[in-house]
């Protein structure tokens, strides 16, 4: 949740305002997509909401935790225990096997993954036969599935996904979106996904449109066409 969030890069004349007094809450146990044209501030919004970046002013909350009160270590612990991430690229540690990658957030915090949850996630993402491969031996779609599994396995409060399908072909992309959808439906996972693809946004329960650092519109139960219409209206 963001309250009066402002993010300014640089200072004085050359300052760029990426987030301009944004207040928004991402509903729990729902799949939210954040959309907007390039440079609209949608990625910045996600980074600030996830504690990867700090706001210039305003506050960001994960649950009841005010991120601005946390130091680096606190933020790290928060990411480790309460947030999951899926990025567009650089999603896996090349020297670890798929299984080790999936369990990474847990092992970092010294926990052992519960076999049940691991099984559940692995089954959901159909990675059973791939667990002992290294990322280099996996296809792009498989790698991204491992990344999603890693984000889910710690049962975080919220998963942030930054263009998770950006580097994938359509079929693999649809697959990933399907997995995210079923994580919300089956396991009551909260997911926030940044994307510029209307087809991806159509998988979400709600779409938040961001333009020039402001929330422009919010659409519930979107379809690819309705999203596209709004995007066209944004002057894309």
């Amino acid at each position: 949740m963001l309250v009066g969030a402002v993010k300014r890069y640089g200072s004085g004349q050359s300052a760029v305002v990426a987030l301009d007094d944004v207040t928004i809450a991402f509903p729990a146990e729902k799949f939210t997509a954040v959309m907007g044209p390039s440079g609209s501030g949608k990625s910045t919004m996600m980074h600030c909401a996830a504690g990867l970046d700090r706001l210039t002013s305003g506050r960001a909350f994960v649950g009841n935790t005010d991120l601005s009160t946390l130091d680096d270590r606190g933020l790290t612990m928060l990411r480790r225990e309460r947030i999951g991430f899926v990025f567009q690229g650089f999603n896996l540690v090349a020297t670890l096997t798929a299984e080790e990658n999936i369990c990474l957030p847990l092992t970092l915090s010294g926990r052992r993954p519960s076999g049940e949850v691991l099984d559940q996630v692995v089954t959901l993402l159909r990675l059973g036969d791939r667990l002992h491969h290294r990322p280099a031996e996996l296809s792009g779609g498989q790698q991204q599935r491992v990344a999603v599994a890693r984000a889910l396995v710690a049962r975080p409060q919220v998963v942030f996904a930054d263009e998770p399908t950006g580097n994938l072909d359509t079929r693999s992309g649809q697959e990933i979106l399907g997995f995210l959808r079923s994580a919300v439906d089956l396991h009551h996972q909260s997911i926030v996904m940044v994307t510029h693809d209307p087809n991806a946004a159509a998988w979400a329960d709600r779409v938040v449109f961001v333009v020039d650092g402001r929330v422009h519109d919010v659409m519930d139960r979107p379809s690819a066409d309705s999203v596209l219409d709004v995007m066209k209206g944004l002057g894309r």
């Binding site: 225990e81 991430f85 567009q88 999603n91 540690v93 020297t95």
Partner: protein, 844 residues
Amino acid sequence: MTQMMRSAARSVLASRGRFVLTGTAIMLSVAFLLATLVLSDSLRGQAAGDIAQALAGTDAVVQGVVLGEPGGGPGDLGRSVRRSLDPDITERVAAVDGVDGAASQWVGFAKLVVDGSSVGTGTATDAGRNWVTVPALNPFRLESGRAPVEVGEIVIDRSLAGDAGVAPGDVVQVLTATGMHDATITGVATFASADAAPLQRTVLLPDGAVSAWLDTAAPTEVLVDVAEGADRAEVLGRLSALSDAEVVDGPDYIQTMQDAATSPLQFLTVFLLAFAVVAMLIGVTIIFNTFALTVARRRRESGLLRAIGAERRQVLGGVVIEAALVGTVATLAGLVCGVAGVGALRWLVGLTGVSLLTGPSIVSTTSIAVAATVGMGATLLSAWIPARRAAATPPIEALRESAAEPRVVSRARTASGLVLAAAAIAGGAVAVAGSNPVWLMPAAAIVPALVLCGPAIVTAAARWSAPVARRAAGVCGSIAAGNLSASPRRSASTALALMLGTATVTLFAIFASSLTSGVGTDVREGLQADLVVTSATPDFSTIDPTLAGRMAALPDVDAVSALSIAEGIVAGRAEAVGGIDPTALPTMFDLDPIAGDLADLRSGGVAVVGDDPALLGDTLEIEFERSTIDAPIVAVVARSTGGFEAPAYFVDSATLDASAGRLLDALVFVDLADGMVADAEEDVRALVRATPGSFLETRAEHVANSGSEIAAFGNFIYGMLVLASVIALLGVANTTALAISERSGEIGLLRAVGATRRELRRIVRLEAALLSFVAASIGIAVAVGFGWALIEVTGGADIPSVIVPWFSLVVTLVVAVAAGVGAAAWPAFRVSRVPVLELVSRDG
């Protein structure tokens, strides 16, 4: 071209961090090489120049007839042993037609003593000479004060005056072969323009004092000034007709003196150059690594350039120009630092007591050219090889491929490395079995074998260490171990630099410990006396001969026995001959007689150090400076009295005094009465302290100090190795930093999923520790093997057995790993400071 230059310059500036490290590596290597070259030039050039200048007025020299050439053992200065001249030789020379001036030159032992303690330690010798009154022939020049005239007046060289802190007018003492003399300093002199003669501390005496003080009846040599206008060759011919003398042409004499003065330095020069080569090798490895990675990172970029129509040469050119820019700047900086670094090296050499570089540094154009060429050449070559590889890649492949090098280790490479390693080990085995040093050459092939096997070794090490690392450090451990094998080639070449460093350290440590033990064995096994009085320098006897008698008179001193040493010629070779009391000595130092009876030395016999009892009964001819003796071999002993200058023959001390003149004692052994040790030792200590030129050691101290000359030299070598290791560690820092910048995305990811800064630093440090450990243990293992073979084959009598200093090696290993981790500290710090977001979004 200018366009390319500009873009290359911009690219260098853009990735400043990476090039600063590479530049530093180049700079340090060039600086090290140049400093070494300059130092060796200066050492040699200075000594040679000083001698040439000092002896410029000498046209010829008349010397005694050569008896024998030097034995050539370690520490030997390469002097010939000559028969004494006649006392009237100078008059006879002066009377020869065409001789304008003739000056006697007396050389003996004289040591300056100020306030009861002797001045000067280290490898320079203490020489007493007469002040030559013929100005054209005097190698010394008065700097202040006046020449010595009366007995009891002396002039000292400037370096000695500086060390002792004395000036003309001060009252001092001089210890010579005839004991202690009171003296007044009348002046300070320079050798030509240098502070001192090479490798000598000189006390200059008036003509009236030399014979009595230096205990020689005749001059050592006569310096000759040939009259102007006289035919030099004819004069030389007439001089050579003199009986019982030889004549040497001036230039030949200068050459001989120069060789004698610089030969110990040549040893040093070889060592210095060996280190420069190691440093350079390490430097080249680092440079190569950096450029390989730079090029790899830019593969995509160059693929794009190629795709849009850039020629192969254009892609390649950019990298090479970039390298040339970095190389030029770094090499120039290296040259400057090198000249400045000579000061540091001089200080380091000074630590051994070899303070012989008295003049300014000689920076020759050759040294600069060599250092600059090596620096530039290494840089360009290191850049060109990977660049060529990159340019040869089809553009599309380059575009598609990720920046990381393939993880696959080439089987052919490993196989050829293994074959080479097997050949090297076989060569070493043959060398040891056949005692044939030629076979050591293939054994040295272990180094290229390691270069070839490196990637495979690193991969294997990563695999083996992964479970251990995981158990010790959890997931950080497995990531660190995995990183090691993620780019095996780069890890291997980093390891190589460290491996070379530790191997050199190890090789030297084994050599030093074996040599020290070899020299010290006799003392360790033979010494039984409670106390030992030693001379000021190991290669010259300086103990007042009356000291032994005075100590024997002390209460609670059981027995005292002195050892004096003189040089004699046996079968044409100069050998040390010891004079002992054959009845008193054996109770204090067991020479371990294996045949005959030492007591028979009393009747004029000689004891031979050796292991062949059959020598008994033969007759030995020993030529001394004053007379020749024919002595029957009455005993064969297995042990000598230890140290570098240990005698190979023993005679009765009375016999030696009669044949070689009255001698100072080299060592005095003291046995204390049982039960009264502490008090008696105090009495002896007081007496020895009051006798300059003598030092007291307990049995344990003497055993420990035997071979300490090597230890002093060892300090110097270790100092050099520290410098070389600094360069190797820079390589670790460099590679670690490079690997981190390559893996920035992955590191960002780790941060995003919840790795703390501490955990990231831990991964980086662990990786460095693993790499250092692998490198250091292989380096040590290889050096132990090679060193063992080397000493077994070439050690001979000086190093009878190989002593591996396990403790030092463990310390070396620990230090290497700690230093590796230390070198990774900075990159580790950097990585943990970079904001998460920057890493995640850098390229993705």
